[in-house]
Symmetry: C2
Subunit: 342 residues, 2 copies
DNA sequence: CAGAGTTTTGCAGGCGCATGCAATATGACG
DNA sequence: CGTCATATTGCATGCGCCTGCAAAACTCTG
């Protein structure tokens, strides 16, 4: 942290001396909106330039009681949906003047390890995505004074947390309509990790709509939100006495695993079985898959998440906000065009 | 950063008061190895527990001149190789007591934006992976006193930076041998982003070995380290008057794109053309690809990187260290078994 | 040019914790 | 019980910067 070797890092005092002003002037010169004359500021800047001075953010954090750091808590980021999210979030945060502290929670790292660490780090805000006990972690941090926004997560278990997520229920309903409209009748669902809200909501919408239209869910499996999970689930579905004619998967990576699972058994997608995913990750558009899926508007999700968080940080208000971003089906080639009309 | 609402966050002073000791005692109780009696420590801990006290790391950082934060600088992390790396690195850092500050550099965010930010943040160390001007950024941070380790990057342009990377040259040579041994004769290379060392080294080894064995590189294309880049490059190669019979790609995602590119033209892999990648990402093992590739020992890479960095931070020494991790070919089904022996 | 209003400036006192040093308490020994 | 070495403690100061307040320097009127 200190200068390598003997040379001490230059401080505001050094700059002040060189510029012939007080330390306060230096501080104000580097604080947007502070009260400094143009001449003083430029004199300070010149001296700072000469000395290679740059404000010490640790000291500033201590003095201002704001760290300028946002914690980003992710689950297993090996789901290809998340890299894009991490990248976009951290860039968007940077453009708002916040730095990103990343933590992943899964396996042997639990919410109870992460919470205290973030509190001690005095993060101004936290974005929590895709972890099991998001609510509990969120509540802890909220009580410690941080602004908290859940990303793509529901907040049923908490009364105070804000969240930004997409219309999961509506997405599930659309898929039901989409498949039913094509004459498919034996619809199955491959769930994600059971206790996570996104998969529950998607399933609820899907099954709800199927029921409304007088049908019922033909089969159900769990895919664990992973490629392998989807692969295995597909094989189980295919070996049913009466296999489904179409499968809606909790996310794209599961759907892609499912496609490969069906194909490994010699089934053709979509001719023998239709598959629909959720997310619209880049992989979904690759030639081997051409997956029909429900697109999440990532830009809108991220923009809303960061906007909401920054607003809460700046204002100090913590009123709960919920933002649902609409979804849309992207039609590719993993669903038969029309079984009825033929 | 401050407690939500009116209640101020509890400080060491509050704990000291309750425990009937001085503030120093509290500080020492929370500092491993400090001079405190057992009784004092337990009294302090009890009081801290009661008040929900936890040391303010910002203040501690200012006082100790060590932030306990390591900057992680990544390029475009949408290459599926990197999520695994980020995850593993941040977890490994956490287990060594360091928090991770993530920054991605590409597009409109440049090295010149990131450098100052990291310096100001007073990170203790920085891991730089896969960005264009890694050397320059590294030198800047090094001069500012941070420990720096380049991950999977060479350091030709810098004399002082440490690095951990795999045997790229040797990997390229192995692939040449592997293909030549199978009777393939028209070998091509699909490069990554041109100015990046990893692709240069892999190519150098590949071409060098081909030449040594009395052959020469049949064709060369640029794949940009992306799926689409590989896809397009494959199509260009396939349309040559005399197309190659095998292609070595700078990384797996390019190789996978190339496979799909060949297939889109009706070519079969490996029957019509063999493809080899580099990295061994999860995707490489999926049924549609079954990619033969060069495996990087990620665990070793990460272990060495963090180990080296932490050692430099703790000791304050900045002697340059270079660690090369061996690689090995993982044989799957994207290369013909033996064209000669038939 | 005096006086009121406005902008700039420096001073001083934090922010929460770490730590060298001197003072005190504890323990060992004869 | 006295003496000296050792283990604990608290005090005071510092880490580098921010900011309320009052003083100083300008600006503008009449």
């Amino acid at each position: 942290m200190s200068e390598h070797g003997a040379t001490r890092a230059t401080t505001a005092q050094d700059v002040a001396d060189l510029a012939g002003v007080s330390i306060s002037a230096v501080s104000r010169a580097f604080t947007p909106g502070a009260s400094v004359s143009k001449q003083t500021r430029s004199r300070v800047m010149e001296a700072a330039e000469k000395l290679g001075y740059t404000p010490n953010l640790v000291a500033r954090s201590l003095a201002t009681q704001r760290s300028g750091i946002v914690g980003l808590v992710m689950g297993d980021i090996r789901n290809p949906y998340y890299p894009e999210v991490i990248d976009a979030l951290s860039r968007r945060l940077a453009s708002s003047g916040f730095r990103t502290m990343l933590t992943t929670v899964w396996g042997d790292v639990t919410v109870d390890d992460v919470g205290p660490s973030l509190v001690q780090s005095k993060v101004d805000g936290v974005i929590i995505a895709s972890i099991a006990e998001a609510d509990r972690l969120g509540d802890t941090l909220f009580k410690a004074g941080a602004a908290v926004v859940l990303f793509n997560r529901s907040t049923l278990a908490s009364e105070s947390l804000s969240s930004v997520r997409c219309e999961n229920v509506e997405g599930g309903r659309s898929v039901a309509n989409f498949l039913l409209d094509r004459g498919l009748t034996r619809l199955a669902y491959i769930a994600g990790v059971e206790h996570i809200y996104t998969t529950q909501e998607r399933e609820a919408g899907f099954v709800g709509r199927i029921t409304e239209r007088g049908h019922q869910l033909h089969a159900r499996e769990t895919g664990d939100y992973t490629y392998q999970g989807g692969f295995d689930a597909a094989q189980r579905l295919a070996s049913l006495d009466v296999p489904p004619d179409s499968v809606f998967c909790a996310n794209d990576i599961t759907a892609i695993g499912a496609i490969d699972g069906f194909r490994a058994l010699g089934l053709r997608v979509p001719d023998d079985i239709s598959v629909v995913g959720f997310d619209d990750i880049e992989l979904a558009s690759w030639p081997p898959y051409r997956l029909t899926t429900v697109r999440q508007d990532k830009t809108a999700l991220i923009e809303n998440t960061v906007g909401m968080l920054v607003q809460q940080i700046r204002s100090g208000e913590r009123t709960r906000q919920i933002k649902l971003v609409p979804v849309a089906i992207v039609e590719r080639n993993s669903v038969v065009s029309n079984r009825v009309a033929g």
